[in-house]
Structures are given as C-alpha cells and as structure tokens.
C-alpha cells in the first residue's frame, strides 16, 4: 500500500514537472538577436519609428565562414511601443525577435527633445528581456540613418564595434558611462541631470577652430578612409527631456566632478605657461574621491569641492625640464590649478544659469544633511541648485614627467 502510494506520488510529481516545465524554453538558434534598438520621431501622432539592428551570428564564425549572408539586418517601422514591435517585425524577419542581446538603445536628438519621449522610454523597464546596463546613446540625425551609414572597417560585426568603441570612449572620458539604469535612476530621483552618449555620422566639414577638447561628435575633422561615425560628448537630460549638449571638455569636467562616473585613461592638453605657442600634454589620474563640503541653510546652501588630481606631464615643448626645476614645477602647478578651476567653475556657473540643474550627482551627497526625507523633498534640490554658491578647487600633484624626465638644453644642442 505504502509502496503503491509512493509510486503514484512520484508519477504525479514527474508529470507535474514535465507538463509545467519547458514552457519558456527557446532554442538559441531559433531567435533573431536585436543588438541595437533605435527610436525616431514618426509622422503619426503618438507613435514612434523603431529601428532594429539584428546581428547575424553566422557571419564571421568559423563554422560557416563560406556563408554569403550579410553581417546584420536593419529594419525600421512605425510602432506604438517596444513590445508589440517584436511581433510586427516578424512580418519580414523569419525568427523570433528577442532583446536578450540588446546592448545599445539609441534615440535621435529630435525625439529626445520631445515631451513624449520619456513615456516611450519607460517601455524599456517593462520588457523582461531588456537589460538595464544597455548603453544609452543620443544621435544628431535619425537613428535609422545613423545605423545605416555606420560601417566600421575593421570589426566584422556591429556588436563588436559598439562594444569596443563605447568602452574606449568611456575610458578616455570622451563620453559618459551612461546606461539605461542610470538614466532611469537619475530621472526618477528628479534632482540631477542625466547624461546620454552623444554620437553622429554627419561630419562637419568646416573647420571650427576649436581645440579637440571643445569638440562635439561630428566636429572632429578626420581625413582618410574610415567609418563616419563619431562618439564624442554627451546629451544632457532634464526630467526625461533633452535640454542640451556637452562637448568633450564639459563631459570630462562632469566626470571629474561626479564620483559615480569613471574614466581611467585621460590624456589632455593645457596651455604652456612658459611659452604660449605650445600646449603641454598631460595624463589625468584621479585616484581619490572628491572632497565635497556642503552647508545647507534655510532654503539655500554652499558647496565647496576639492578635486584631488595626479597629473603626469607627457610633453615639454618649451624645454623647461620640469623634473629638475622645482620653481618651474610650482609655477606650472599653480597655472594648471588656476586654469582647471576656472574652467570648472565656468561650467558650473553655466549649469546653474543655463541648464538650471547639475549632472554631478551632488543631490545624493546632500541628502545626509537633511534629517528627514520630507525635509529634503521640501528643499527641492533641482530648484534650489541655481541659487547656491559653488566653489570648485583643484588640487594637483605631479606624477612622473614622461619616461625620461630630462630634456637636453636646446642652446647647447644647437650650438
């Protein structure tokens, strides 16, 4: 009797597992992997154009290297939301559309500036498959054209290209490390400004006469045969709506001031204090966190920030020989500190006056100065920030002066 019951129970358990399991089983090779989703303005009201970049796994793989298939498929159509579009795409795409591999969400500038943008953007939080760590990119032109023109020369597939170029750009500090999660996070906190990676394929052929730091994507003149796409600078979002663009220098300042953003391999130039014809090349290293001092007093406040920086001087065109000359080093240090703090303070002022908000993550640091949440909410960081007194100081320490510290005495060489 006991044995029979045991058998019956095990059969029931087995059936339970067999009948209930497998329901979301999906074979890897029966799916179409969307690597990038693009969102554009549509002609019709309350709809948007969606662009799918579907990568072809077979392209470039060893097994089927003799395939003639193209590396990717690109389709654009009008949709109501991010979910139903998966079904609509199957009109032309043979396999089931999946966002499992989605790493890049691209929005055109025009749509990003639209008031309805945030409503559509929040679809990304609804779908189970969309990863929150997907890169968030804003393009100058329509995304459909951006993806069509984007033809990397050396990377076999677009997914490799995106992965690599965005990683490099973030390391260099040319673009901010922004993903969907951070975008939603900042938007929901409603105190800071969010950033997006800025990119374009539309080159600007006229010479802007700016130093490379002050450029935006599309403004850098590059000759030769290469991909037309450029990622440089960032798009600024306030309350889920794009309000401006930051060039490379402003992006780097933002990253310097915001301790939640990171850059690791930053090379830049400063005007040479000893010979104004030249600029000195320097590597910026930030090892410690900023010292942020806040004083919140009834309705307004004061923020004092010190940025600890280690700077390695990599070029010495004026042949000053910094490694051997303590006086000159001191002077250089002061000049760089002044130069940097002036630039940063200017930018901070610009955020206060022009954007009326800051992308530096300071609202998070301010919370500890309030006793209760309602007190903080009443303070309304976004509204109060423009009236605050902000003072940023840079504290420079020199690292090495290139692999060889010394430069020869020019007079003696030319003699």
């Amino acid at each position: 009797m006991k044995k029979r019951r045991c058998k019956l129970l095990s059969i029931i358990l087995l059936l339970l597992v067999l009948l209930s399991g497998c329901w979301d089983q999906k074979q890897v090779d029966k799916r179409a992997y969307v690597y990038a989703v693009g969102m554009d303005m549509a002609d019709e009201e309350n709809k948007f154009n969606i662009t799918y970049l579907i990568v072809n796994p077979e392209y470039g793989s060893q097994v089927s290297s003799n395939t003639n298939e193209s590396p990717q498929e690109l389709i654009t159509f009008e949709t109501n939301d991010l979910m139903t579009s998966k079904n609509i795409a199957n009109v032309v795409i043979a396999k089931e559309i999946t966002y499992d591999l989605l790493r890049v969400v691209i929005v055109s500038e025009k749509l990003a500036k639209d008031k309805r943008f945030i409503r559509w953007m929040y679809d990304a939080t609804k779908d189970r498959e969309i990863r929150r760590d997907s890169y968030f990119i804003v393009t100058k032109e329509n995304v459909s054209t951006f993806l069509k023109v984007n033809k990397p020369k050396l990377e076999t597939r677009l997914d490799q290209y995106f992965e690599l170029i965005l990683k490099r750009g973030i390391d260099n500090g040319m673009i901010p490390d922004m993903d969907l999660h951070r975008f939603f996070n900042i938007t929901e906190a409603d105190a800071d400004l969010a950033l997006g990676i800025y990119g374009t394929t539309q080159g600007n052929n006229e010479d802007t006469g700016k130093v490379e730091d002050q450029l935006l994507a599309g403004e850098l003149k590059i000759k030769g045969e290469t991909n037309a796409t450029q990622f440089l600078g960032s798009a600024l979002f306030k309350e889920g709506q794009m309000i401006g663009k930051l060039n490379a220098e402003e992006t780097r300042i933002t990253i310097l001031l915001n301790d939640t953003l990171e850059m690791s391999d930053v090379l830049t130039t400063y005007p040479d204090p000893f010979d104004k014809d030249f600029r000195i090349a320097a590597r910026l290293i930030k090892k410690q966190k900023n010292k942020v001092n806040m004083k919140i007093k009834n309705g307004s406040g004061e923020i004092n920030v010190t940025i600890p920086l280690i700077i390695e001087i990599l070029s010495d065109h004026s042949m000053v020989n910094y490694g051997r000359n303590a006086e000159k080093r001191k002077e250089l240090k002061k000049k760089i500190e002044d130069n940097l703090s002036a630039k940063i303070n200017d930018f901070v002022k610009k955020t206060q006056e022009e954007y009326k908000g800051e992308p530096f993550g300071w609202s998070l640091l301010s919370r500890r100065h309030f006793k209760t949440l309602s007190e903080y909410e009443k303070f309304d960081w976004m509204k109060t920030y423009p009236t605050m007194k902000v003072n940023v100081k840079v504290d420079v320490r020199f690292g090495e002066f290139g692999k060889q510290g010394e430069v020869p005495n020019l007079k003696r060489v030319r003699d």
């Binding site: 796994p57 793989s61 997914d159």
Partner: protein, 514 residues
C-alpha cells in the same frame, strides 16, 4: 472445443523433468560420521566422497611404515598443494622410519600437523589444500598443511595509479595481502580475525583492525552485520560489499574498495576496519566517507602545495562533470541572456544547421561517450585502438561535419567526459556519471532552476547518508575533531588527530601528546 484447446496448451507448457531431483541426505549422513579404525573402510569412504577415480586431481597413495609395521595412506588434492613438501616431509620420513615406539607426529617433519576425528572436519582441511594421513588402527586422521593455491604474484596497481607511492597492489591471495599490510604496520596490536561467512563454500573473511585504536562498538556493529549474512557462496569482496552495505540501492557508495595496501594501512592507523578475503585483489575499508572516495593515494605522498593543487583540479573536475552539459542545455534553452554576447552568437551560429534541440543533442553525445567507454573497456586488447579511433573520429568530427551535432556540444561533452576520469574511485565515478544525466534532464526541463533544485535535493540526500553510523560528509558536516582532510589537506606535521567520527580509542596521532 475450448476445453480441448486449454488442455492442449497446458500440455505444451508442462515442465518435462529430464533430471529428477536427487537428495543428498545419504552423503550428508556419511560426512557426519567419525573416522573408522579400519584403514580400508576409511579409504573406501573417502573414495566414495571424492568420486575417485573419476575425480582426477584427488590422489590416494598407500604406504607401509617400517619400524611400527603399520599400513597407511595419504589423500590429497594435487592441484592445490605442494606435492614436493608432502614427498619430503611425509612420505620419505615415514618410509625410512626405523623406530618402533615413535609417535606419528614425531616422524612427520612438516611444519603444521593437526588431527581430526570426524570425516567432516578432515574433508574441510583436505579441500583447503591439506594432506590427510590415515594410519591403520587409528580412529583419527593426521592433517598436514601444504596448501599451495596457484595465483599471480604481487603486481602494480592498475586502477589506483600513484606517481610517488609504493607500487605494490593486493592480489588474489589473502595471506599475501595480509603480509603486505603487516609489512606496513609492524605492531602487535594489528589483529587479523578470521570468520567464515558463507554456508557452502566456506569462504573465509579476515577482519583487520588495530586493537588499541578501533572503536569496539563499531567493530561489533560490523561483526554483527557479517554474522547475519545467510548465503551459500560469497566469492569475493565485491559481492560481500553489496551484501553488507546499508543502502544497496543508493547512488553513492558507502564502502571503499582499494587495491593499494598502503592506503589500507593508512586507514587502519586511523582506526578504520579493513576486510580482506581470498580471491579478491582488493580490500574493503569501512566506514567510508565521501572524502575517502574523493581523495587519491597520491594526495598523501605529494608535497602539501602540489597535493592541494591536485585536489582543486579534482574538485573542479567533479563539478564540471556534473554541471557543464546541464549548464549548456539550460543556458541555450532558457537563459540566453546570461551568456556574453559574442559567445551567445558563436553558440547560435554553430547551432544554425543542427536539426536536433540542444537537449537531445547533448543526451545523444553523452550516451555515445558512455558507449565508447563501456565498449572500450570490454573490447579485447588487439582491437582496442580501433575503437578509440572509430569513436573519436566518427562521433566527433564526422558528426559535426554531417551537421548532426554542433562543435560546441562536442567540446562540452568531451570536457565532461574527461573530467569524470579525474575521480579515481570506480564507484564514485559511476555515481558522478549517473548524476550528470539527472542534471541534464533537470536542466532541459526547468533550466538552471531545475538544476539548483536537483542539486539541493541531492545535498539533502548526501547529508542523510550514513556508512556504518558515520555521516557521509563527516568531518565537514557534522563537525568532528579530525585532521580536516576534506577538500584540502593540512601540512602532514599538522595532522594531529585521527578522525573523531570513528570515536577511536586514541584520537591524537602524536605519541608525545597522549
């Protein structure tokens, strides 16, 4: 009509008895009798029992002993004894005897002589290779031990290969095996107890233990278990193992079978009990924990760092064997988002032209691997290499080229197969391989969730197993005083305790401390 049919069928199925059953009560009665004083009658009895002269290797030789002027006869089985000894120590001294009042035992110069009064007892000794000497007019028989069973000599271990350790292995002679252990433990406390465990073939079992270490209750428990055995024949230890283990249907082995005397000696010194039997090229060590199956002999002999490195490799191999195929199945079916994009695309690309679902594909290849393994084991030596080539080539490359399986599956299955060999113990190896299939099914049905569930249930089970009262995962869980030789081992000089879960009489290993 129907009746006819029924009777026809029952006629057809009636068992025809060509060989009518015979009772052996007469024989049994005969064997119960005492030895008779008449030599002639005794010889007749033994001729009848041994079926002489049909039984070719049982020999009877008639003698005349001068001096005491008596007729005598010896009976022996020539194939299992050393006839030279008999000739030199029995036949020649008897025939050359000139003393008139000497006792028989003093004439015979053999090393062991005993007497028996019952036919039954004499038969038992003759069957074991003794020579029986009957003297006319005496109602007892002299039994001279000269057994010499044929067998192989000591050879290298084949299953438990060690790089640095001793290269001797047990062979089929129990006395050799005991000698090999005694060689390692030269101590008067090493006890070799013999008991007979089967009713008909009278198989002898030697219980080996160190008296001043072993826990008496554990020993009693094992002896009790051995005493309850009710079997006609137990040919060797592998069969005995299946009879005395606690859970014969369990997937995990609970008795360690080793062919290395050094390992047996090591366990004896820790307070374990070793069983040795004639005809078994191995020894049983009990109780056994999971760790004793996981460890190998070389772990002891290699230096601390190297041994632990090997343990890490073996541990990861264990998990690779169990999980890798299952992870592949569940990731490709349920959790595609878990994989790095490049890898996912690579997997997807290789699967594009494969007709079967991953689950079937993996099961197919795993079974094929098991097939090669089993066939390779049974195949006669000269054909061996062919099987290897056919298996590797056909099932690997050709299957991929024919788009039957994807190359990644070949890698996964090869990896899991290769890793399974890292677990040296044959029983544990089987357990792991079977678990692997369970995992693949769980992964195919419910993904990683299913695997986690099965693994958890498995853990519950492993923790619940006991081997002769010792928890299977001791001393890791539950915790006991011990040298903590589990996943890693300590420095040899820091191994200060015997395993506490055995409750040995002396738990510290160092003479100075006790």
């Amino acid at each position: 009509m129907l009746k006819n049919l029924v009777s026809f069928i029952s006629d057809k199925f009636k068992i025809k008895n060509d060989y009518p059953e015979q009772l052996s009560t007469d024989d049994i009665k005969l064997k119960e009798q005492n030895i008779d004083t008449s030599l002639k009658k005794n010889i007749e009895t033994f001729e009848r029992i041994y079926f002489i002269p049909d039984n070719t290797d049982v020999k009877i030789r008639h003698l005349f002993i001068p001096g005491i002027n008596k007729k005598a006869a010896i009976i022996y089985i020539s194939s299992i004894m050393d006839t030279k000894i008999i000739e030199e120590t029995v036949i020649r001294p008897l025939q050359n005897n000139q003393h008139t009042t000497i006792e028989i035992t003093n004439i015979i110069s053999a090393e062991s002589v005993s007497t028996a009064e019952k036919i039954k007892d004499a038969l038992k000794e003759i069957n074991k290779g003794s020579c029986a000497l009957f003297i006319d007019g005496e109602d007892q028989v002299y039994l001279i031990g000269a057994a010499n069973f044929q067998g192989r000599s000591i050879e290298k271990p084949e299953n438990e290969v060690s790089l640095l350790g001793p290269k001797e292995a047990f062979n089929e002679k129990a006395m050799t095996n005991i000698s090999l252990i005694r060689k390692k433990i030269k101590n008067e406390n090493l006890i070799i107890e013999a008991t007979t465990i089967s009713k008909r073939s009278k198989d002898e079992l030697y219980i080996v233990y160190v008296k001043d270490l072993v826990n008496e209750e554990l020993l009693k428990n094992i002896k009790d278990r051995l005493n309850t055995i009710d079997m006609d024949i137990i040919q060797n230890l592998s069969i005995l193992e299946q009879i005395i283990e606690e859970r014969p249907k369990s997937i995990f082995p609970t008795i360690l079978n080793t062919e290395r005397p050094d390992r047996a000696a090591y366990f004896l010194e820790d307070g374990f009990i070793v069983l040795i039997m004639e005809n078994s090229p191995s020894a049983l060590i009990l109780p056994a924990t999971f760790w004793s199956f996981f460890h190998s002999a070389d772990d002891r002999y290699q230096r601390f760092l190297y041994a632990n490195f090997t343990r890490v490799i073996r541990g990861s191999a264990l998990f690779i064997t169990i999980f890798i195929s299952a992870i592949y199945v569940s990731v490709t079916n349920y959790h595609a988002e878990m994989v790095p994009s490049d890898l996912l695309l690579a997997i997807s690309a290789t699967r594009e032209k494969v007709p079967f679902p991953t689950f079937i594909e993996v099961l197919m290849m795993e079974s094929a691997f098991e097939l090669i393994r089993e066939a390779g084991l049974r195949v006669p030596n000269p054909i061996g290499p062919t099987i290897g080539i056919v298996g590797a080539l056909i099932l690997g490359q050709a299957a991929v080229q024919a788009n039957i399986v994807s190359p990644i599956v070949v890698i996964v299955v090869a990896l899991s197969g290769l890793s399974s060999f890292a677990i040296g113990d044959i029983s544990m190896n089987f357990a792991i391989r079977i678990i692997r299939f369970g995992m693949i099914i769980a992964g195919g049905v419910l993904g990683i969730y299913g695997m986690a569930a099965i693994f958890t249930i498995g853990l519950f089970y492993v923790v619940s197993i006991k081997s002769f009262g010792v928890p299977y995962l001791a001393p890791m869980t539950p915790k006991y005083i011990s040298s903590n030789d589990t996943i890693f081992r300590k420095l040899t000089k820091n191994e200060r305790f015997r395993p506490g879960y055995l409750k040995p009489k002396d738990v510290t290993k160092k003479a100075g401390d006790s």
